[in-house]
């Protein structure tokens, strides 16, 4: 599968005018890589993700997503930081929702979902509702649902940002493990530079709004990776370079917020 953006811009109407969220985004993503997207708050990362998800259309430019014609694979999957698993479905139904695109009997969907619930270690909680689970467990459910349909493109919008630091490590490990088994093109939005360096094959840096991609940093860390690599000099090096690329815009953004 491939994604190609050329001069993609997105402008949305606001009170008394229009706001440019994205401007001239050029992007090329190939199959089965994990691409991280970092940038200052409000730079349009989430907007770009929604474009890729097909939830928004660009105002101008060309966005091309070419999927392999495989009816057994979900084209796109989505994980949000919050309000992601349905509170009115138990874990089993939530994960089975990842097979919504398929015409299968519920029993069979449940059977496949169960396997993925086991994979994320929630076997005992299949019948539990999200409000009975911790935030970390809920995001495991999100992961299981994202992977159960073996998606070609997986879009993740700060999926672990609401977790405490330790749970976050476990979930990163979980993601790497799931991804090694079920290859997908992952676009991963994050504010955590170490996370970007640890997970990504490449990290794309976005500018302040209107967002555009200003830099691309390749991560040469070998795969398979695990949490041990957090201490790897390459991770430190990449996250330092990312900060160098971002610092000016982040400081400007803060100054703009503080200005009257």
């Amino acid at each position: 599968m491939e994604v190609r953006c050329q001069n993609v811009s997105l402008v949305y109407p606001t009170r008394g005018g229009a706001t440019a969220a994205l401007e001239d985004v050029d992007l090329e993503l190939g199959s089965s890589e994990l691409v991280c997207l970092v940038g200052p708050s409000g730079c349009g990362k989430s907007t770009l993700l929604k474009l890729l998800a097909g939830l928004l259309d660009p105002t101008s430019g060309a966005l091309e997503t070419r999927f392999e014609p495989d009816p057994d694979r979900l084209t796109r999957a989505l994980v949000f930081q919050d309000h992601c698993v349905f509170p009115w479905m138990n874990v089993l139904d939530n994960v089975a929702f990842g097979l919504e695109f398929k015409r299968l009997r519920t029993a069979e969907k449940h059977e496949r979902a169960r396997a993925f619930i086991e994979q994320v270690g929630l076997g005992a909680f299949a019948k539990s509702f999200p409000h009975e689970l911790s935030v970390g467990m809920r995001q495991r459910v999100s992961l299981a649902r994202a992977f159960v349909g073996n998606p070609q493109l997986l879009l993740m919008d700060e999926p672990f940002a609401a977790l405490d630091a330790l749970t976050k490590l476990l979930l990163q490990e979980e993601l790497l493990r799931m991804w090694s088994r079920h290859r997908a093109l992952i676009v991963y939005v994050t504010h955590d530079l170490t996370e970007a360096a640890l997970l990504g094959d490449r990290v794309l840096v976005m500018s302040r709004r209107p967002g555009t991609i200003v830099q691309e940093i390749a991560v040469t860390l070998p795969r398979p990776r695990d949490l041990q690599h957090r201490a790897h000099p390459e991770v430190a090096d990449v996250s330092r370079r990312l900060w160098d690329a971002l610092e000016r815009d982040v400081r400007l953004g803060l100054a703009a917020q503080e200005a009257p």
Binding site: K50, A53, G54, L55, L74, T75, R76, A77, L78, F80, D82, H83, C84, F86, P87, W88, M89, F97, G98, E100, F101, S128, F129, P130, H131, E132, R145, G149, L155
Partner: protein
């Protein structure tokens, strides 16, 4: 020492009458623990506060009874609760009360299905389609405050004096709380859920079935409870002026014959129906929206 040791997982509210509270829980914690609700999906323990309404009612009626017995208040206007309860008992055993309750409830139910059903459909549509909301909401807002009873003369002029006109008035009174709650219920669903459903390949119908309906259900149920009570109020109001049967007509005849204890008895019965509606909607909520927690509170 706790009074709330026992697991009340599946207990119904009537079963909540605490059978000799497990006072041994402090001395034998080990044996007490397995009986506690293990499934987290049910609120395992309910606090003592659940007795507060009963205690409050007992205090109120107790002092009322006392004031009546001691003749601090004129019993013609304020018959003692024991007298009122006796009246209810008499009316019930004579078969009079069940007939009137049945008449009121059957009218109410008919109107509730129409009015509530129409409100549910329109409200969900208004919540789901902003365009429909833009067009229709001003009308809903304008018609909502019109006293529904004031429609009766007009409706009777058009449709005659029959049951249809009355049912229509009651239906209209249930329509608005249902419309507004269903609309709010759909609108408060986090947009992320719609995005997730779409991306995972749900069709429009499936988005409706799996997101819109369950997501709006808590507020729809609150709307149903409001609609039921509005319907009860409207039905009784109508019966008071037009009917031969029903709780409203009982009020009318009791008033005509100056039987205050029957007036009170009927009002008590109406209040009991309100309590019953709460019980019914809470049961439904517990069954259908378990993720919302216990509707009865702590």
């Amino acid at each position: 020492m706790t009074l709330d040791g026992a697991a009340r997982a599946g207990a119904t509210p009537q079963a909540m009458v605490d059978p000799a509270a497990p006072a041994a829980s402090t001395t034998a914690p080990a044996s007490a623990s397995p009986s506690r609700g293990r499934r987290a999906s049910v609120p395992a323990r309910r606090s003592r506060l659940r007795w507060a309404p009963a205690i409050l009612a007992a205090l109120l009626f107790g002092s009322w009874e006392l004031a009546g017995r001691l003749e601090w208040i004129p019993v013609l206007f304020f018959p003692a609760p024991s007298v009122i309860l006796g009246t209810i008992y008499d009316m019930a055993s004579s078969g009079e009360l069940p007939v009137h309750i049945g008449a009121t409830l059957s009218r109410l139910l008919l109107a509730l299905v129409w009015g509530g059903g129409a409100g549910l459909i329109l409200g969900m549509g208004m919540g789901y389609w902003p365009r429909l909301r833009t067009v229709v909401d001003p009308f809903v807002a304008a018609l909502h405050p019109v006293p529904k009873m004031s429609l009766l003369p007009l409706i009777m002029l058009i449709f005659g004096i029959g049951w249809f006109s009355k049912a229509l008035v009651v239906a209209v009174s249930t329509f608005f709380p249902m419309t507004i709650n269903a609309m709010a219920g759909v609108r408060q669903i986090d947009p992320n859920y719609f995005d997730v459903a779409k991306v995972y390949g749900a069709t429009r119908w499936r988005v409706f079935r799996r997101v819109v309906v369950p997501g709006s259900l808590p507020l729809v149920l609150a709307g149903a409870r409001m609609a039921m009570n509005r319907a009860l109020g409207a039905t009784i109001g109508l019966e008071l002026i037009t009917a031969e049967t029903g709780l409203g007509s009982m009020l009318f005849f009791a008033w005509q014959t100056l039987r205050t204890e029957e007036l009170y008895a009927t009002i008590f019965v109406i209040a009991a129906l309100g309590w019953l509606f709460r019980w019914i909607t809470n049961r439904i909520a517990l069954a259908l929206v378990p993720w919302q927690g216990d509707p009865r509170g702590v």
